[in-house]
Amino acid sequence: MEKKNKKDSKEEISIKIDYEDIDVADIMGQIKRKIAKEAEKPSPGESLKEEPALTPPSPPQFQEEPDMEEEEVSGFKKKAKRILLKLMKPFTPLIKLMILPVHEQILETMRHLHQTNKRLDFIHAKLERRGDEIYSSLTNRLDEAIPALHERIDKLSEALSSRINKDFEKTNKKIGQVSQTINKRMNVLFADLAKTMEYTKLLHSLSHNMVVEFSKLKIEEENLKNKTRIMEKDFEFLGKREKALEKLILK
C-alpha cells in the first residue's frame, strides 16, 4: 500500500542541465525554485509539512557574524564608525532596547512556537494513527496466516515420519549385512592371533635356553684363561730354575 504512495526516484525530473557545461549554481537555483513552486501549491496540511532550515548543533554565537558579502567601506568611514561606536558604547544597551524590534521578535517567536506545536500535534496524531493501522493489519494477517500454518505443519510432519520410517528399514538391513561380514573377518583374525601366540611362547623358551648356554660357556672361558695364566707363570719359574742349575753345573 505504502509503496504505491511513494514517488519513483526517476519521476518528475524537470531540471534542465547542460551536460557539456555543468553549472552547480544553476542546478541548485532550479532545485530551489522547484521547491518554492511546490510549496506554493495548496495541499491539505501544507503548513504543517513546511521544512525548517537546518541548524548546526552548536552553542549560541558569542558575537554576530559580520556579513561576508558586505562591501569594503573606505578608511575614513571606518575610522568615523569606530569613533562613533566608541562614544556610543555606554548607551549601547539603551539603544539596543530602543532600536531592536524586541516585541516583533517575541511575536515572531510565539508564531514559530505555535507553528511547531501544531506540527508536533500533527506528527503525534499521524504516528498514533499509523501505529493503530499497522497493529490492526498485523493482527489480521496473523489471524489469517495461523490456520494455514497449522495445516502446513501437519502435512510436513506426516511426510517427515513416513520418510524416516522408510529410511529406518533400509538402514537396519544394511547394518545386519555389515555386522555378518565383520563377524567372519573377526573369526579369521582370532585364529591367526592364537597361532601367533603359540609361536611367541616357543621363541621365548628358546631364547631362555640360549641365554643359559651362553652363560655356561662364558664361565668355562674364564676358567680356561685362569689356567693358562698359571701355566705361563710356572713356565717362567721353570726357565729361571733351568738357568740357575746350568750355572751350578758349569762351575
Binding site: K6, S9, Y19, I31, E51, P56, P59, P60, P66
Partner: protein, 391 residues
C-alpha cells in the same frame, strides 16, 4: 632553509585532521628543505595526556621533537569555561584562561621555540585555536607562518584571535571561504597568504567490485567516510536518508565508514562497516555513486578531495560554507540546506548517471588543478620564497 612544523599532535597513528595534514605537508616539503617537527607527547585530543616518549624520534624520515604536556585537560572544566565565554560578557583574561584549558599546555615547547628560534628560518604553526599556535606565534611572530585550519564555529570570534591573525608573516589557507572569514574578522588583508589546502595520496589500484564482494553490498550506494558524530551532521544525514527512503521508491543504500559516537539507526539499507584500512576505503569510494558529506564545520574535507580524485560527485551540507564553495567552484557536487533540497538533489544525482559522470569529471579536473602534491608543494615554496625576498 630549515623549517619547523609546530602541531599539537604528531604520529603515524593519527589519521585525520590538521595533524595528518601537517604530517603529509612535512613529508613532502622534505624534498626542498630541512624539516623538523615540534610537537607534544599527546595522543588523546580530549585530555592531551602524555603518551609518546619524551625527546627526539624519527617518523617517516622526519625528525620529531616531543615536549611534555604540563597539565592535562579536564573536559568538564573546559566545557564550563567555554560555555561561560561563549554566553557571557567577559574579559581577554577569561579568553586566555580558556586557551590554557584548550591546551595542549606545553610550556617546554614554547620555551624551546623561544630559545632555538635562530636555528630555524620559519615556524609553520598548524591550527590557530590551540595553545602552541597562539603562544608560539607570539614568541616568534617574525618567523611565523600559520595554517589556521579554521572552521566557521563561534570560537573564532574570540578577541584574542582577532589580534593573533595579524601577527604571522604569512597564512596558508585551506579554502577561499576560510580566507574570507579570517579577513573579515581581523582585517588582515595586508598579511601574505594563499589558498593551498592539502594534497592526497591515491593508491594506484582500487576496485569497487572488490569492496562489494567483501562487504556483500548489492546495488547502488552512497558512502559516508569519517567520524560518525552529531557535529559532523551524521544525525541529520540518517534522518534525511530515512525520510528519503520513506518517500521515494529507491534501492539506494547508505554505507558508513569510520568510528562512531552515535547510535546508528537499524535499517536494512544502512550498512555500518566501522573503521576500515585505506585500501578498503578507496575501494568503497570507487564503488559508491556519491559521497555524502553532511558536516556543518569543515575547513577542508580531505575525504571530499579523495572522492573527487576518484571522479565521484559529492552531496554536501550547504550550511558549511567551505563545502558549498568547493561544490560551486568545482561543479563537482550538489549541496542541501534542508530536507527538501536534500531530497531533490539526491533524486537528481541518482536518476541521472550522465550528471554524475559529468560532475565526476569536473571534480577530477578541479582536483588535478588544485590539489595534486605538485601544486601544493609549489604553493608552499612560493610563499617561502616571497617571505625570503621580502626580508
Amino acid at each position: 632553509m630549515k623549517i619547523a612544523f609546530v602541531v599539537q599532535r604528531y604520529g603515524l597513528e593519527i589519521n585525520g585532521g590538521a595533524e595528518l595534514h601537517c604530517r603529509w605537508v612535512a613529508e613532502h616539503m622534505k624534498k626542498y628543505c630541512e624539516v623538523e617537527v615540534l610537537t607534544t607527547r599527546a595522543y588523546d585530543y580530549i585530555t592531551w595526556k602524555n603518551h609518546y616518549p619524551k625527546g627526539e624520534e624519527v617518523v617517516n624520515n622526519i625528525p620529531v621533537k616531543r615536549f611534555s604536556v604540563t597539565r592535562t585537560r579536564n573536559p568538564e572544566r573546559f566545557g564550563r569555561i567555554q560555555n561561560h565565554i561563549l554566553e557571557n560578557e567577559h574579559k581577554e583574561g577569561d579568553e586566555l584562561k580558556w586557551l590554557e584549558e584548550e591546551g595542549p599546555l606545553s610550556l617546554s615547547l614554547i620555551r624551546y621555540i623561544k630559545d632555538h628560534q635562530d636555528d630555524y628560518d620559519y615556524f609553520i604553526f598548524f591550527s590557530y585555536r590551540y595553545y602552541h599556535s597562539y603562544w608560539g606565534i607570539h614568541t616568534v611572530p617574525h618567523k611565523s607562518i600559520l595554517v589556521p585550519t579554521a572552521e566557521h564555529d563561534p570560537i573564532i570570534h574570540l578577541k584574542i584571535f582577532k589580534n593573533l591573525f595579524r601577527k604571522p608573516q604569512a597564512f596558508i589557507y585551506n579554502s577561499f571561504e576560510e580566507r574570507k572569514m579570517i579577513h573579515t574578522l581581523s582585517q588582515n588583508e595586508h598579511v601574505l597568504g594563499d589558498v593551498v589546502g592539502v594534497g592526497t595520496e591515491i593508491p594506484s589500484q582500487y576496485s569497487g567490485e572488490q569492496f562489494r564482494r567483501k562487504y556483500q553490498i548489492r546495488g547502488d550506494y552512497i558512502i559516508y567516510i569519517g567520524r560518525i558524530d552529531e557535529n559532523k551532521g551524521c544525525h541529520q544525514l540518517f534522518d534525511y536518508f530515512l525520510r528519503f527512503k520513506e518517500e521515494i521508491a529507491s534501492d539506494i543504500k547508505l554505507v558508513l565508514v569510520g568510528s562512531t559516537v552515535l547510535k546508528i539507526p537499524s535499517h536494512p539499507d544502512i550498512f555500518y562497516l566501522g573503521f576500515l584500512p585505506e585500501e578498503d576505503k578507496f575501494n568503497g569510494l570507487d564503488g559508491a555513486v556519491i559521497l555524502a558529506m553532511p558536516s556543518f564545520y569543515e575547513s577542508l574535507s580531505m575525504v571530499t578531495l579523495e572522492a573527487w580524485a576518484l571522479q565521484k560527485p559529492v552531496l554536501a551540507n550547504g550550511q558549511c560554507r567551505v563545502l558549498k564553495g568547493q561544490c560551486l567552484r568545482s561543479n563537482g557536487g550538489l549541496f542541501y540546506e534542508n530536507y527538501q533540497e536534500f531530497k531533490e538533489a539526491l533524486r537528481l544525482l541518482l536518476s541521472l548517471p550522465e550528471l554524475r559522470l559529468a560532475m565526476g569529471g569536473n571534480a577530477h579536473k578541479y582536483f588535478k588543478e588544485n590539489y595534486t602534491w605538485e601544486v601544493i608543494e609549489n604553493k608552499y615554496l612560493s610563499i617561502l620564497n616571497q617571505l625570503k625576498e621580502s626580508k
